[in-house]
Symmetry: C2
Subunit: 297 residues, 2 copies
């Protein structure tokens, strides 16, 4: 263990050691790196080869072969990294595509078990695995809370009373799905469930809606329905927090929806200004809904 790998209890300077950012696909890892640097903490980007955006090279970084767990641990320790965040999508890779090193080989039975279940199961297993190797997994809400979507209407458009009914139904449905470790988004129109996200992802759900409307399979008024998105209940905020952006707005507009409701504080929006601008232009509302302790209604 490096000397920097000290427990960061209350009162200690948590910012002295660099934050390790494990970078999957997309530009969200870069937005997080910028936000953490703005707060004065150094970063090291641990970029998954084949997944991470080349933009990570603007920061202190290491490229890591996916699956080479032992190498990755050594690289992180070399930089004195103890706190880690994991950002960006990684399509569940085939186990056999892993570039195995010796450490990975030793933990393989454990990884294989993680694969036998939903994404939550996989990801929370990864968290406890990292813990065993002396790393502390943190969430974006801890290292860059300004990237989480706030509560309230975010743009120029507001949900109607009917939209609010659909939004409440959507959050109820997402909560009922929680024990099954299934998707993070649903689409509702006039109290009818149009779609439920599972392995296809939010973009897949929205393109399906667009397709069903274009083909006449789904006949609705010109603008109808809301996308409701939230972390799975009980989902660790430390990994796989849902993320949205301007492209989500574009997809929702293509699906003919009226707006997007997300759980406030539970969703990353790397560039809120761009997203609000896109929503305003597309005529969609955008609202962050605070989680109620018992029953979001």
């Amino acid at each position: 263990m490096s000397a920097a790998a000290k427990s960061s209890g209350p009162g200690t300077d948590v910012n002295s050691d660099p934050l390790g950012i494990v970078c999957g696909a997309g530009t969200f890892p870069i937005a997080v790196a910028e936000a953490v640097q703005r707060r004065g903490r150094p970063v090291v980007l641990l970029a998954l080869r084949g997944f991470a955006d080349p933009g990570v090279e603007r920061f202190p970084h290491e490229w890591m072969p996916f699956g080479a767990f032992g190498t990755s641990v050594k690289l992180a320790r070399k930089h004195g990294v103890r706190d880690l965040v994991v950002i960006g999508s990684v399509l569940r890779p085939k186990l056999l595509d892993f570039r195995l090193d010796w450490t990975t080989f030793r933990i393989l039975p454990r990884l294989a078990r993680l694969y036998r279940g939903g994404d939550d199961h996989l990801l929370s297993g990864v968290a406890s695995l990292l813990d065993d190797y002396g790393f502390h997994l943190m969430g974006v809400h801890e290292v860059a809370p300004e990237l989480m979507i706030p509560a309230g209407v975010l743009g120029a458009h507001r949900p109607s009373a009917e939209d609010e009914t659909d939004i409440a139904l959507g959050f109820d449905l997402l909560r009922a799905l929680g024990p099954f470790d299934v998707g993070q988004a649903v689409a509702i129109s006039a109290r009818r469930v149009l779609g439920v996200e599972a392995a296809e992802g939010t973009a897949g759900l929205l393109s399906r809606l667009a397709e069903m409307r274009n083909s006449g399979r789904l006949m609705l008024p010109a603008r109808a329905g809301v996308l409701v998105k939230a972390p799975k209940p009980g989902q660790s905020k430390r990994i796989d927090v849902p993320a949205i952006g301007a492209e989500t707005v574009a997809q929702a507009a293509a699906a003919g929806l009226r707006g997007i409701a997300v759980e406030a504080g539970g969703t990353i929006v790397p560039d809120a200004n761009a997203m609000v601008r896109a929503a305003d232009q597309a005529g969609l509302f955008l609202i962050g809904v605070p989680l109620r302790e018992e029953g979001r209604r």
Copy 2:
């Protein structure tokens, strides 16, 4: 009301008056008509123009313009029909596409209310509407129980222990979705929820799985996962009972699944022999799972 429209209490001859079969799309209405005739009861097929299969003309029938409720009531009464079954899919038509007659016009506010909700809401509303006009809505399980899928393994292939775990999880998930009036099928592989059916229908769910596997978005062993299908909990067995057939087997095979589990007695299979033959050839298992009163495990 025709003279035949008598209450058919216990002990009366329920087979004297013809059964009215409201025919949506597909050949299922014809399979039901044949089965009812085999049992010795006369039928009248009330074929929805633009939806019903031309094969309905082999039977006593009337073509009905969709939405012309008053005309349809008169035609049914002309034949002495009192008991009705409603079979075959009808994509939710736009309200404005209805060929309105005066009776429809009077019930329009009621129809509009029915449209504000899920399919269950729409269909149970239709049942109570028919009731008000003196018709008795029956289910396929009442008029042709031999068309419902029986309990047990139906073909040459059997689910593995792991498949059975996935099947139990699938039924649990379908039950959790019940209050939300959402789809009738889910796909599960190794305890992971791959897809949840909503407005896209079972064929839509299966083609999405095939696509995700072909594109590499979903990486699974060559044959993995089960389709689990059941009526929504609390769903009236009198309308919109899920139906499967050889084409469902073909779609499940294209999606790379290992088999299909359906609730025994809760799903119509118009040609069980053809379906079992298709499953045997494709190497898929096919099982009817009896509903347990409290908790299907």
